[in-house]
């Protein structure tokens, strides 16, 4: 019924006290390198290395990480099946005609492309996991503030972030109460129960909004929410490995695309 939030992992990992800029550089850097890579080698390599980094030095629980890796499987399987039959070029590997007027073929080029896309998804996903699992949202807000993101947008994000957890717990409570009173027993009834849950959640969120306006007025709210920005300093022992890793990855990418190293 409920999705797991990754916030706990982001708050409780061993990389918590590294400067967020360093972690963003690593996450976004490897994301971009994996995205532009024309060969599957670079994203797979980057994905494997970053996974090891997340599991061993950052001490992300293996169970959470495993569940995360399995999440995009449905979408990728659906889409890759379509792509395998859609893309063409090269020799025909496999032909299939379920009915005379539908003619499905898989070609070598389609297989190459699909492998590349799958590996790119893997590499990019792991880079995203790195950002999601090691940088708490509050640190990201501070980074955004320094990057001159409009203050209204950041305030909106902060309020949303704050209330997500409150509503999450509330939704869980309502759901448990409904289950105890025999809600969600039949398909039709579960639609009713679910709508009731959402409706109540909307009303209670509206009331929470009115309360927060009153509470902020009491504290002289003038449209801007000042907040403390306790940023960790950039430390060389974390910054230099990140730069070395990214330049290594970039180097491999350049070597493969220019044909210095050939993987067959």
């Amino acid at each position: 019924m409920f999705e797991t939030l990754l916030d706990d992992a982001a708050q409780n990992n061993a990389f918590r006290h590294i400067h967020p800029g360093t972690k963003i550089l690593l996450g976004l850097g490897s994301l971009v390198i994996c995205l532009v890579s024309p060969t599957p080698v670079v994203p797979v390599l980057s994905g494997l290395i970053l996974s090891m980094v997340l599991l061993v030095p950052a001490r992300i629980p293996a169970r959470i990480y495993g569940e995360l890796l399995l999440a995009p499987v449905v979408f990728s399987v659906f889409s890759i099946v379509v792509l395998l039959f859609m893309l063409g070029g090269g020799d025909v590997v496999w032909e299939f005609s379920p009915v005379p007027w539908i003619h499905l073929t898989i070609t070598t080029n389609a297989i190459h492309q699909s492998v590349l896309i799958l590996s790119r998804v893997f590499g990019c996903m792991v880079s995203l996991f790195f950002i999601a699992l090691t940088i708490p949202m509050t640190d990201l807000f501070n980074v955004m503030k320094r990057c001159r993101v409009p203050v209204e947008l950041i305030d909106l994000m902060m309020i949303m972030y704050r209330y997500i957890f409150i509503f999450y717990d509330q939704a869980k409570e309502i759901w448990q109460a409904q289950k105890m009173r025999l809600g969600y027993q039949r398909p039709k009834e579960s639609i009713h129960s679910f709508s009731m849950l959402c409706g109540m959640l909307f009303i209670s969120s509206w009331i929470a909004g009115e309360d927060i306006v009153r509470a902020m007025d009491c504290r002289c709210y003038n449209g801007i929410m000042p907040s403390l920005d306790p940023m960790e300093p950039v430390r060389m022992q974390s910054f230099i490995p990140v730069v070395l890793y990214l330049s290594g990855l970039g180097g491999i990418l350049v070597a493969i695309t220019t044909g210095i190293v050939v993987f067959s």
Partner: protein, 237 residues
């Protein structure tokens, strides 16, 4: 249905980001204007945004076997108009990427175009079209939510099709294939979401009709007519 991180080639990621950014900018400008008029707007918008995030993190009761999430964009666009919805959608999608690992950062632009911009705009047109007719407001809500959802899948299929055109038949063939495969699960789901949102609206109207009135989604007469209780005071909770 989010396009996941890394699925689109980088050129297309860039294209969708470039299309999405003007909408965020317009949304932020609009937000700034509204805040000048009424500074209570931001906290209310914030909690509604959080509500929409939670809505999208709940799994709909599974009917077709696949689990899916309501998008909530229909509700948002009726309450807050398309530009503000684009901003809320941007934040919700960013949080989904960072807190739930749904979607991604490189594909955020593409997901925004389908879920926070395209779907809501068409939903809003449907809402505008039906609002002042004699159509029952629950039917209106159902249509807005279902249409916004279906348009979202149409745009997602289109985004995938232009990135990966078919060898035979080009973009059109690959669009057909992607949409056909999504339609199996997503068309029933959008009808389901329409039903759910219409019921949600009914519960809100029964218990707290002043919210809907304050946001100007429907007029008092329409609400009274739909509830069938003219001049009746809202029930006490």
């Amino acid at each position: 249905m989010h396009i996941m991180e890394g699925f689109l080639p980088w050129q297309w990621c860039l294209v969708w980001w470039i299309i999405a950014i003007p909408f965020i900018v317009m949304g932020v400008l609009e937000l700034r204007k509204l805040l000048k008029q009424d500074r209570e707007y931001l906290p209310l918008l914030g909690v509604c945004g959080a509500f929409i995030f939670i809505l999208s993190a709940l799994k709909l009761p599974s009917v077709t076997g696949s689990c899916s999430h309501p998008t909530g964009t229909g509700l948002s666009v009726m309450c807050f108009k398309p530009y503000i919805t684009a901003v809320i959608g941007f934040v919700v999608l960013l949080f989904q990427a960072l807190l739930l690992a749904h979607g991604g950062l490189s594909t955020l632009g593409a997901n925004m175009v389908s879920m926070a911009i395209g779907g809501p705009i068409v939903g809003y047109l449907v809402y505008k079209l039906l609002k002042n007719t004699s159509v029952n407001i629950f039917v209106t809500v159902f249509c807005v939510a279902a249409v916004a959802d279906i348009i979202t899948y149409v745009i997602t299929s289109f985004e995938l099709a232009v990135a990966y055109p078919a060898a035979v038949g080009g973009i059109a063939a690959s669009f057909g294939a992607f949409f056909a495969i999504f339609a199996i699960t997503q068309v029933p789901l959008s009808i389901l979401e329409g039903l759910v949102l219409a019921l949600v609206f009914k519960y809100i109207l029964e218990l707290k009709p002043d919210v809907i009135e304050k946001l100007g989604v429907f007029s008092k007469e329409q609400i009274d007519k739909a509830l069938g209780t003219p001049d009746a005071a809202p029930k006490k909770v």
